[in-house]
């Protein structure tokens, strides 16, 4: 096959745009799994929940889904707090997170999916925005706005999270939670409280990422599963608990997927993230930016 520069350039740009979105999808797991050591495999379920909420509001009131998700993110924040409370009381405190905690999140993932199926059915739902069908062309390269807008908001959100973590007292407490809980206690900070709030932030990012998702593509309840591998692949690939790593991992994955769809066909794309995940685990478990 002749590979034209235009095709290549388009694949790279599409991959980068997709990667930005993947960063938003994964940043929450980077916090919960990478920093708090809470293996929330139900994260994608909250993304899909975010998609449906954005869909309902958009469908009934016509508001922009991304604006809606940002306005409603406190709801997801509260949900995250509640979920962590349950997780802490039932599993973490008893030292049972590795087996039962995982099973718990798996159950939550499954319940969310089934409830969405029961309420909305298995049809694909989509939203329309003013920019949905707009595409900018620079030379031979396409910039579809339905990808560009989520990309911009997403990257800003991820950078915002990173700045928040490194430049605020609370953020540094989150970073310390994984390292040295005793030091935190000595400073008068309750590690459980820190984890609760940080977990809440991670769920809030999932809600927002859900809005990006439904702007980018139609959504149905079961597609959440495809993102389980993806979010963990991005996290592990980038290096556990590193937000910059997550951003980098997301771009790598986005480009890898975009190349795979362009050159091998879209039906292979879902295998890319999982393949990358397995390969990273096998050959470089500390990730790209890990030590």
């Amino acid at each position: 096959m002749e590979i034209s520069t235009a095709l290549l350039a388009n694949a790279i740009i599409a991959g980068l745009l997709l990667g930005g979105f993947y960063a938003a999808v994964s940043v929450g797991v980077s916090i919960s799994f990478g920093m708090l050591d809470v293996v929330n495999i139900a994260h994608p379920a909250f993304i899909i929940l975010g998609s449906y909420i954005a869909y309902i509001v958009n469908d009934s009131l016509g508001f922009d889904p991304i604006v809606v998700s940002l306005v409603l993110s406190p709801l997801f924040f509260l949900l995250g707090m509640a979920l962590y409370r349950i997780y802490y009381v039932c599993f973490e405190r008893r030292g049972q997170e590795s087996l039962r905690g995982l099973a718990f999140f798996f159950g939550i993932l499954f319940i969310t999916e089934v409830v969405l199926v029961l309420v909305f059915g298995v049809d694909y739902r989509m939203v329309t925005t003013r920019y949905s069908d707009v595409t900018l062309r620079l030379g031979e390269v396409d910039f579809p706005m339905r990808l560009v807008v989520p990309f911009l908001v997403s990257v800003s959100m991820v950078i915002g999270v990173q700045l928040f973590l490194t430049h605020t007292f609370f953020g540094r407490a989150v970073l310390a939670v994984a390292q040295d809980q005793l030091a935190l206690r000595l400073m008068g900070v309750n590690p459980v409280r820190v984890k609760e709030l940080a977990f809440a932030i991670s769920i809030a990012t999932a809600g927002v990422a859900g809005a990006f998702l439904i702007v980018i593509q139609p959504v149905q309840p079961a597609i959440g599963r495809e993102y389980i591998g993806l979010v963990f692949a991005v996290c592990v690939l980038g290096g556990m608990g590193s937000i910059w790593g997550t951003l980098l991992g997301a771009f790598v994955l986005g480009i890898a997927e975009s190349f795979t769809s362009t050159f091998f066909g879209p039906s292979w794309a879902p295998a890319v993230s999982f393949g990358l995940l397995l390969a990273t685990l096998a050959f470089r478990p500390s990730g790209l930016l890990g030590r």
Partner: protein
């Protein structure tokens, strides 16, 4: 339960269940019983790794599908006899488990869990793109016209085979549990570092239990294509297998072989009941999901946990 009692009770139950093929004319019963037995195998197999060793496998569907698709492949290639298919499917799934375990069991347990889920999706995509076994459209596997052992219908054969396999799975699980290996696995589950420092070759034992567990799941899948005469990727890889195989041991209790058996019979029968009453699959899945979450949060040791604490209270 001593070995003698176990053998006697197991044989009695097996004979009774086998005699059923001659007594019950209703074909629906066997369709339902097939599913329950399938669940028994999956739950028992999952528990060898999950319950005994403490490692979560989210990829039950992948190993089940490996079994099912080995059958499809051998059917298309050679029209191989059922027994060959069963053996081949079991071995293939065991090998896949060995590979996955070898790659990820050196790392923290969660990585194995995530990788097992990832494997399911990779294999799914692989099968969807593999036309020889039907790709996304699925493949037909016709039931042979001649039915051995003088059984009236093919479903009776499938049921009987499934019965034998369920028995085998339970015997294997029980044997492991009561062996030196079982003690080593329990030590790993309780504290892996302490186990290693007590002389337990932890990596080797983990890989072993992964292999056995995955092989049995594969075995459960080998008869599936004949059961429906038709397989397509989304049914063979259905996430509900993963949920059921985790929920059943959790509900029944994970410490011993009997827990998954109880869980499987309970959830399996309930599933059949709900199916008849509402004829809506989603409700079933919802109930299983809710039971999973309720048990794991409120009764982490499952039904057998209740029985045990009740027994202990009585002793006092």
């Amino acid at each position: 339960m001593s070995n003698k009692t176990f053998t006697v009770v197991a044989l009695a139950i097996a004979l009774a269940l086998a005699a059923v093929t001659q007594l019950i004319p209703n074909e629906y019963f066997f369709t339902a019983a097939y599913t329950v037995l399938l669940f028994v195998i999956l739950a028992t197999a999952w528990n060898i790794l999950g319950g005994y060793t403490g490692y979560v496998n989210f990829g039950s569907a992948a190993f089940f599908a490996i079994g099912a698709y080995t059958t499809v492949f051998l059917y298309n290639a050679f029209k191989a006899p059922l027994l060959v298919m069963i053996v081949a499917g079991t071995l293939t799934a065991g090998l896949a488990g060995l590979g996955l375990g070898y790659l990820t069991l050196r790392l923290r347990g969660v990585f194995f869990a995530i990788a097992s889920l990832a494997l399911a999706v990779v294999l799914y995509v692989f099968i969807v793109n593999w036309d020889y076994v039907g790709g996304a459209r699925g493949a037909y596997v016709l039931q042979p016209r001649e039915i051995p052992f003088g059984l009236p219908r093919y479903i009776h054969l499938i049921y009987s085979v499934q019965l034998v396999m369920a028995g085998l799975a339970i015997v294997v699980a029980r044997a492991i549990e009561h062996s030196t290996i079982g003690r080593g696995l329990a030590a790993i589950r309780d504290d892996e570092l302490a186990a290693e420092c007590s002389g337990v070759p932890t990596l080797r034992l983990k890989i072993f239990s992964t292999m056995v567990s995955c092989a049995l799941m594969g075995m459960a899948g080998t008869t599936f294509p004949y059961y429906l005469s038709y397989v397509e990727p989304s049914s063979a890889f259905s996430l509900s297998y993963a949920v059921y195989s985790i929920a059943m041991p959790l509900v029944g209790g994970m410490k011993s072989w009997i827990g998954p058996l109880i869980g499987a019979i309970l959830l399996g029968s309930m599933q059949q009941l709900v199916q008849v009453m509402f004829s809506l699959g989603a409700w079933n899945l919802l109930i299983v999901g809710v039971l999973l979450v309720l048990f794991v949060t409120l009764a982490p040791n499952g039904i057998m946990g209740w029985v045990e604490s009740w027994r202990r209270r009585k002793e006092r």
